[in-house]
Amino acid sequence: MEQPNKFKESAALIRKLSVTLFVFFIAIAGILVYLMVDPSLSAFSSKPETTLTVLETNEIKDDFDAIEDGIHLRTGFIADDGLMTVVNNCTNCHSAKLVTQNRMTKEGWSATIKWMQETQNLWDLGDNEVIILNYLAKNYAPEQKGRRENLTNIEWYTLN
């Protein structure tokens, strides 16, 4: 009767060992998987992560249409009445830079809108056209430059 008992004992020992090994392996695998997801172990850092996430979200939301020194940062447009109407209608197909680098009279801006409608698939602007034209004619009007301007914005440097 001694032999079967010994066998049972060994079997139980092996079972225990393999279970321990299995648990150990799962734990290691778990840690490895976690390290892949969060290599900086940020969940264990002192700052609560939830607060951080909320802060970031708020920042992005506030920043999206932020205005600094009278300039709409995202587009470079001058902040004035009609700004968002211009942003929403004039930056879908082309860059805001195409507007802000140009200077035209109200008549010129109007002709440009008409040209875009005739050839570039610009939609009917409806009541917004007046708002857009007033904004552009006021903020992006031509300046007299004469027949040749002085050199400006020179960055001086020593040449040896």
Binding site: M36, V37, P39, C93, H94, S95, K97, L98, Q101, N102, R103, M104, G108, T112, Q120, N121, P142, Q144, K145, G146, R147, R148, E149, L151, I154, E155, W156, Y157, T158, L159
Partner: protein, 406 residues
């Protein structure tokens, strides 16, 4: 050879630095995937451009050089301006790329693969000056609509390809052919597939010049995407818009080509001189052909401060469209007196020419060095703005740099 635009041109590190944050698990990012934050791409890494280049427009991409960036005899890609009218084509497959010759005046329609072109025709390499018709637009008064180029929309790279005339001969063109027009793979800004962003061309005589190439290499390498990979028409000395990028078709026409930006006021100037700000009817506007005589001081960069009695060596390039530059001069007294510069011959017809001069200043103070080229017809650059035109083309006024002595 398939080009994945983003995957090939932006490394993970670059993406990370643009986004200003570490891209976690970047290894698992599928090839060709562009993170959302990259919709505002950094054009300098995207197109491998010098950080000092100036972005005039990002939809479509329009980027210009500054004078001192154009100092190389042969312009490297990193300092070449980009002028796009539409969106860049995506997923270009050079192996299956085809160019088709069609139109009223071909004997019969014919297509060639890139390999056909390379195998069937002799290859030539020329250094060719390409300048945007609107280079210098920013100076016109009253201002003209469009990208406000200052001085940097010009380059002179080395192009390798086959002569368009050899291919046209193989296709066979009828006696009534007057013009060729190109069609390309770029996409209209509105996304409408029925619309072409630009489809310009040149008269048959220009198409049949030795230097007019169907190019597949630029500066010895595949043409960069922004400059027309895998095949570009190159018409040196003419507005760069005639050098169509991403070529898919050449139409041989029995009329002046009427593609996008050939008609109306695009790339046209008044046939007869007009007063600044004048309204000009479409029918009174004529197509720009050869570009006018012009030059650029590429060394030193404007703003140099020198010691008293220190000489200054200036250098730069001069070009004259279809013609050659015959004389190059500089002035340090606003045109009251002019002195000759040393002027080299072009490396081939339609390539820009290099000039240099040793400049001495009589007194301490503020100076401007002005440069003036004269072409073989005796026509010089004006010191003031040339004739005003509604779209602000062809500003070839003298270039100048500021210098302080003492």
């Amino acid at each position: 050879m398939k080009r994945r635009f983003f995957a090939k041109n932006i490394g993970l590190a670059t993406m990370s630095s643009i986004l200003g944050a570490k891209i976690v698990q970047g290894n698992f990012m599928p090839e060709g995937y562009t993170p959302l934050g990259l919709q505002d791409q950094d054009p300098f890494s995207l197109f491998d451009k010098n950080k000092e280049m100036v972005v005039l427009n990002d939809k479509p991409w329009n980027i210009e050089a500054k004078a001192h960036l154009l100092d190389d005899a042969i312009t490297p890609n990193k300092n070449m301006f980009i002028r796009n009218n539409g969106k860049l084509p995506v997923n270009i497959d050079a192996d299956s790329w085809k160019i088709t010759f069609n139109g009223e005046s071909v004997v019969q329609e014919k297509s060639f693969s890139l390999n056909d072109l390379k195998k069937q025709f002799k290859q030539y390499t020329y250094q060719l000056t390409l300048e945007c018709g609107g280079n210098g637009r920013a100076e016109f008064n009253p201002p003209a609509k469009g990208n406000q180029w200052t001085v940097g929309a010009v380059h002179c790279a080395k192009w390798t390809g086959v002569r368009l005339k050899d291919v046209l001969q193989a296709v066979g063109i009828k006696d009534d052919a007057v013009y060729i027009g190109y069609h390309a793979a770029d996409v209209h800004l509105s996304g409408n597939p029925e619309k072409e962003p630009i489809s310009r061309g040149v008269p048959i005589a220009k198409a049949l010049q030795d230097e007019t190439l169907l190019a597949f290499k630029m500066n010895g390498e595949d043409i960069p995407l922004a400059h027309g990979f895998p095949l570009r028409l190159v018409c040196g000395g003419w507005p760069a818009s005639t050098s169509g990028k991403w070529l898919t078709e050449i139409s041989v026409r029995n009329i002046v080509h009427d593609g996008a930006k050939m008609t109306g006021t695009a790339y046209r100037v008044p046939c007869k001189p007009v007063a600044p700000g004048a309204k000009v009817k479409d029918e009174d506007m004529c197509i720009i052909e050869s570009m006018p005589v012009k030059s650029l001081i590429t060394y030193p960069k404007t703003g140099a401060m020198l010691k008293k009695e220190q000489s200054l060596t200036i250098r730069g390039h001069a070009w004259a469209g279809e013609l050659e530059v015959a004389k190059m001069e500089y002035s340090i007294d606003f045109g009251a007196t002019w002195k000759l510069c040393k002027l080299n011959k072009p490396s081939n017809r339609l390539a820009w020419q290099h000039f240099s001069a040793m400049v001495d200043f009589p007194e301490t103070g503020y100076y401007e060095v002005w440069a003036k080229a004269t072409d073989t017809n005796g026509v010089s650059q004006p010191m003031l703005l040339p004739g005003w035109n509604p779209k602000g083309y062809l500003n070839n006024a003298c270039h100048r740099i500021a210098v302080k002595i003492g």
